[in-house]
Symmetry: C2
Subunit: 267 residues, 2 copies
């Protein structure tokens, strides 16, 4: 239906337009949309008009386009992620109240090798945290990603290790053999700790969240300035939240992290 | 582009499909999508396929469709509502910690005469609260809607009063003249209190949230079982949150509610 000369469906072209918007680019003029999507001006014009007529895009006074409230409404009211986010929020709040640092809830996207952040509570401070809500980061460069990957089946891990592994900071591990070792270690501990991997001066901790059938469905993470690291506080709180949310999400009661987790908090 | 015989654009047809999903119907088989959208089986089949290929819909093991994580991601990462939700969340948490009842954050949709709920914190109890996240309720049947409408320009109020006003419970006010009086009273008080209007045994309180130029951009509401109503606690907390969030959203400091608000808490 209405495939263009390039064989793209209308839906694919709509997604291209939607992808042009981001937190840094919430509003875009038509010419920017044309440039960023690489589609013809008339196609973008027509689609943007249709999208605005349905409320999926909105135009501001200057005529620039932005994602519309209707889009958020349609996406949120029946999304399974929304259920996980809502059930996770009280646990995030508990962790935040106890540690007063950045706290996040995420889900894995194994296909793309990334972590998708559903919710984030800010430390009201200055630490830089790259995990935006609805933002993505790579699995191997985040504590959340590694905490989740550590509990996935071997064939999923091997596919992940065979993929492209980019270096974000000098501390990012990209060697498959060493990452495989790290995953085994994280699985044994029951949590991931990564220092300076995404942002040089930060240390991140994450625990996995399990769902029905004890499959990994997400992670809760805390990011702290490495100078103020306090694992004796952070780990008990995180572990409790991870297990509590897992039970809420239907995971059976089952030990994970075969080593007593407080034994080696410093990695 | 690709308008059907009925003159609908592909986008309109996509929205129809998306609208079929809701919290009560998160997963739908193809035949249900056909029935609910009233479109031809081949059109729905083709569109659903394209939507699934782009991740906007997802298919589960049984072949049923649901809204995809990609849809939520595209909608959330650049949506202006997300900014309001995030800034509002700490205020909601504060209110929730103080009153331990249902707390919600909403925005007005004057066009459709409805209130769109962005966030909700549950009282861990049994009170029924119809305000779901990404759900809508009518302006005249909610304290949030009335608190927002009370501070809108006269011509917006008149258009709202001239619209269709449905009765949800016997206590729902639908008479334009009496609603006009209520709006004036709510504006004077600076908050709305509505007892048994949406759910017979509940009482709801709401305060408006203002943005730049002192225009109403949202509302914070608390719902309590009428039997446990405690306005002396709820009102100070709500008023503080409403004003705090207004300042955060760029509203100038300006009194609203010309009467001392604690004067007549019971209405």
């Amino acid at each position: 239906m209405a495939n263009s000369a390039s064989g793209e469906s209308v839906i694919e072209r709509v997604v291209k337009i939607m992808e042009a918007f981001s937190k840094g680019n919430p509003r875009l003029p038509l010419r920017e949309l044309v440039r960023m999507t690489g589609m013809s001006s008339s196609t973008v014009h027509r689609l943007a008009n249709d999208l605005a007529a349905s409320g999926l895009l909105e135009r501001d006074q200057s005529g620039d386009y932005g994602v519309g409230a209707r889009m958020w409404e349609l996406a949120s009211r029946s999304n399974p992620l929304e259920d996980f986010r809502r059930r996770g929020l009280p646990f995030l709040e508990g962790v935040h109240a106890a540690v007063r640092e950045h706290v996040s809830l995420s889900v894995p996207d194994v296909e793309s090798g990334s972590v998708l952040y559903l919710e984030r509570l800010d430390r009201h401070g200055t630490v830089m945290n790259l995990a935006e809500v609805a933002g993505r980061l790579e699995i191997h460069s985040t504590s959340s990603g590694m905490a989740m990957m550590a509990h996935m089946p071997g064939y999923v891990q091997e596919r992940f290790l065979a993929g492209t592994l980019k270096k974000t900071t000098p501390a990012t591990e990209t060697d498959p053999a060493r990452l495989r070792k790290q995953l085994a270690h994280i699985r044994e501990l029951g949590y991931a700790r990564m220092a300076g991997v995404l942002v040089a001066e930060n240390t991140a901790y994450a625990v996995p969240v399990f769902g029905e059938g004890h499959s990994v469905i997400g992670a809760i993470a805390v990011v702290v300035p490495s100078a103020e690291e306090n694992p004796g506080l952070i780990l008990p709180v995180l572990v409790a939240a991870g297990r509590g949310l897992s039970r809420t999400m239907g995971a059976e009661r089952r030990p994970y992290g075969t080593r007593p987790w407080l034994e080696s908090p410093g990695k």
